[in-house]
Symmetry: C2
Subunit: 104 residues, 2 copies
């Protein structure tokens, strides 16, 4: 977890919003998990298309945003079939909060 990469990822309104939306996925993405097989759940995960729709940016842009946020450690992803589900990486996020409290 490189703080600078995290801060860069958070320096963009759309990306910041995505992170916030994923805090309450069921609230911001009503049709969440629609493509998942029965019995499988990606808790807190939302597929790229749903995020794109809400973010109102192009597919490539959103895909790159998500990849960047994952590299920074803010998100993690799971693939089910043709769908990639992204969710918050709460472990990194709590380490980040700790970093903030002690180092900043």
């Amino acid at each position: 977890m490189e703080p600078i990469d995290v801060f860069k990822a958070l320096s963009n309104e759309t990306r910041l919003n995505i992170l916030k939306w994923l805090k309450e996925p069921e609230k911001h993405f009503p049709k969440q998990g629609a493509h998942l097989p029965k019995g499988v759940s990606v808790k807190g995960g939302v597929c790229v298309g749903d995020i794109q729709e809400k973010a109102k940016a192009s597919q490539s842009t959103v895909s790159q945003y998500l990849n960047m946020m994952q590299n920074a450690g803010l998100l993690e992803s799971v693939r089910y079939g043709q769908w990639t589900y992204y969710r918050r990486n709460e472990e990194t996020l709590s380490r980040l909060a700790e970093y903030f409290k002690t180092e900043i």
Copy 2:
């Protein structure tokens, strides 16, 4: 305090270091307050020249960095004669920590 501006300001290693250095100014800037008149103290404040020396960047760059960090709310400044003392804006910083805890 615009979170995005804060994150942009923190997206640079030198600026991030400046913020950290100013957490313990007496440790990182031994000759701190050398120019101040007796009886006056800018608690936690360090002048631009001292910061520049430690940051190893040009005078104009450091001046701009400090100005940017002040606009983002991370720093505040006081002028004494020809010296400008910058110190952390702890009020914004604690609001920022709170923002981090509740919104991120």
